[in-house]
Amino acid sequence: MKVSELVEQAGLKTFHRAGDREIRGVYISDMVSDIIGTQEGNLLLTLQTHKNLIAAANLVDVSAIIFTRGREPAEDVVALAGRADIGLFGTADDTWTLAKRLYEIGLR
């Protein structure tokens, strides 16, 4: 599934729209030292909105990031994501609720 399809189906808020990537999996983490050990193409679900997270997500080339529980990134975070061509999206749902919804949509 492409990121654009997911955003539409899940009704996500867009903070930054980047190149339309294929989602190869889903990874949930709030620790950057954990994220840098994941694989390329994952959709990242997190509460974290700071720049360190973007630096980690860029390293492992995530397909996109979804901030849960209504968290919103600051301007400098969006700017760094723009340089890294990483899509940033958000939802008011908590991470568990979003994870269930992503499964229902068809992500595995």
Partner: protein, 176 residues
């Protein structure tokens, strides 16, 4: 397959959770860090030769090694405390220079931070670890336009003025 002939395909191995602990010496001003897998990492002051190490901070961290899926060669990354994205803040800094020497504008320099920030012991992250990290992160990139360059922190001009973005969970998961 012989390791020398292998075109390594790196994968994360020996993933482990613990705490990254930072200590400082009030005598020489030096700073060191280490990874502890103990449930309650040490926080006591202690003397080591001319140094008097005191606890400065610590936070949860995840560490891992890299292992080749073809030949099983393992590269321990015990000497890498964290990675840091270089923001090319200092034109005199060798890290930024290295990045700018690379072709194209989409090179991302990451610095592998070793335990001894001041490099007083003359050691830094191992060249083999640096190479393996570079190969691992570039192997996962979607296209040739983007490139990751991992360099040792000994190339940094100054740890005190460096404005790089450290990939560590400082503040988020500090020791209690």
């Amino acid at each position: 397959m012989r390791q020398a002939d292998c075109r390594h395909k790196w994968a994360v191995a020996n993933k482990r959770d613990g705490y990254l602990v930072i200590e400082g010496c009030f005598h020489c001003g030096g700073r060191i860090s280490f990874f502890s897998e103990e449930p309650f990492p040490p926080r006591e002051d202690y003397r080591e030769g001319e140094h008097f190490w005191s606890f400065l901070g610590g936070y949860q961290a995840t560490k891992f090694d890299l292992q080749c899926e073809h030949c099983d060669h393992l590269v321990p990354l015990d000497d890498v405390m964290a990675l840091m994205l270089c923001t090319v803040c200092d034109p005199q800094c060798e890290v930024g220079r290295r990045a700018q020497q690379e072709s194209g504008g989409r090179t991302w320099p990451y610095v592998a931070l070793c335990a001894d920030t001041s490099h007083a012991g003359g050691r830094c992250t191992s060249p083999e670890g640096i190479q393996a990290l570079t190969e691992y992160y570039n192997s996962g990139l979607r296209g040739a336009a983007k490139k990751i360059v991992v360099v040792p922190c000994s190339l940094r001009r100054s740890p005190d003025t460096c404005q790089g973005i450290v990939l560590a969970d400082v503040g988020l998961t500090e020791m209690y």
